[in-house]
Symmetry: C2
Subunit: 283 residues, 2 copies
């Protein structure tokens, strides 16, 4: 199964999320089988990410955006959790602080771009500035319109200057499933604290968000930083799809452990000298 090919937004393609099927789940027989497939992929992702850390030439940026309750946090736990925390950072972007808002919209984002060898995961991102700001008319069309190019240029910088592979995930949940998940939270004492008024007030803007996503995906899905639309009504398929796309991208990096930086023959002599010395008890 090639998840990337199936779910990518081809550069220049039209996007109509209103016609997208968030309940799609491919051909997996059942959730149990999917669970085993996910575990296998996670093991491979963990191994490759550690190799990437050693290789130290590539970096990976995962951008998580999507509708409320589609599962940005779930992807962090169930997919990103496969990685070695050394070399992998999740950064959540909230409503900008006063200082952040006093700068251009990429100013607070840039410091969190991944270093060579590292993985960075953005839970929300610079895309908030063409999504929530548009839906709630916090800035005018002129402002958010010019941001698409700014975003493309900035992402190209990361890609060309630092070898960053950029994967952007748009997590799509249906209106019905979103409501069902809100109801679940209402009945679960361990999750009631997560409920906010905005869960419901934002639902009034569901279609506006779809439209804002449509245009953002159309204008910023590029060869160097593609968007993927992820059907999220089935959490297990969502996890499989994101893991599959990450795994395929890592495999395409052709990662290698670096060559030794030392003369191994010389090191072997040092090793034997140390061994001899120790046997004699002279150290």
């Amino acid at each position: 199964m090639n998840y990337a090919k199936k779910l990518v937004v081809e550069p220049g393609a039209k996007v109509r999320l209103a016609r997208f099927d968030p309940a799609y789940h491919g051909k997996h027989g059942n959730e149990e089988e999917a669970g085993r497939a996910l575990e296998e992929m996670k093991n491979k992702i963990g191994a490759l990410q550690r190799k990437m850390y050693g290789d130290n030439r590539h970096s990976l940026l995962m951008v998580l955006q999507g509708l409320d309750a589609a599962g940005k946090d779930g992807v962090c736990w169930h997919v990103v959790g496969a990685m070695d925390p050394q070399g992998c950072r999740v950064h959540g972007f909230k409503v900008p602080t006063g200082e952040e808002a006093a700068h251009d919209f990429l100013w607070r984002i840039h410091p969190h771009a991944p270093a060579k060898g590292e993985v960075a995961v953005f839970n929300r991102s610079h895309y908030e500035d063409v999504l929530v700001t548009r839906v709630h008319k916090l800035v005018g069309r002129k402002v958010w319109e010019r941001r698409y190019d700014m975003i493309n240029q900035w992402e190209r910088l990361l890609h060309e200057e630092n070898g960053t592979t950029i994967l952007k995930f748009c997590l799509v949940v249906s209106r019905q499933e979103q409501l069902r998940r809100f109801a679940e939270r209402l009945d679960d004492p361990n999750r009631q604290w997560k409920i906010s008024e905005s869960d419901y007030t934002e639902r009034a803007f569901f279609d506006d968000y779809l439209e804002a996503f449509d245009e953002a995906l159309e204008r910023t899905s590029t060869a160097h930083a593609p968007w993927f639309t992820i059907p999220c009504d089935h959490k297990w398929y969502r996890n499989l799809a994101v893991a599959g796309i990450v795994l395929e991208a890592m495999e395409a990096m052709h990662l290698e452990y670096p060559k030794p930086s030392v003369d191994l023959g010389e090191i072997r002599r040092k090793y034997h000298a140390a061994e001899q010395a120790e046997k004699k008890g002279s150290v």
Copy 2:
């Protein structure tokens, strides 16, 4: 098994790592049994860390120091890897950059202290400034001597001002086992790149490091930021011990999910209104 009680450096206690047994492995029957125990602990750690993130009152700082090849990286992968990457950050401190060296030794450390709800892991730390700098005489006794109090004061700040639990792990490996691990790297093409000249040149300072650790542990193991000496000749015991201490500390936090910030009755009405509207197909 209470790992913390067994391995803690009691405040004020004398430390003589030269007499410490790095091959200690408690009473576990075999590695397989220990592996199962570790998996169980990791599941609990993952669940509690996610609860801590929700609870948002406590934070945890794990400091990893130790002898070369004792397993700082291994602890990141095998123990910290149990946590949700959202809310957990590993930061590795290397040789200070020019800008870092132009500041006091805590300047580059402080920004990485954990926020409320979060876990921060230091792979090496501010302790390098009373260890490597002392062993290699990069600063004089007067300078590193006064740093113990500065460290204690700074750690107290994190603890008292931000509710940070600080756990400091000194990973101890025997001279023989360290050499054996270097030899393993020599024979493993995937790990040869990790070999450096300093692996061998630093071995000449093995006893000096033990002495530097002795004094650092004596002077900075406090009630608010205790040190634990971890026997690391058996990797499985090392992982169990660190996981056990982390788990015990998290359990002692008595974590709770926050109370809902909204009126649940009101939210239930909103939910039913949304459900009705959807049934009618009016949205």
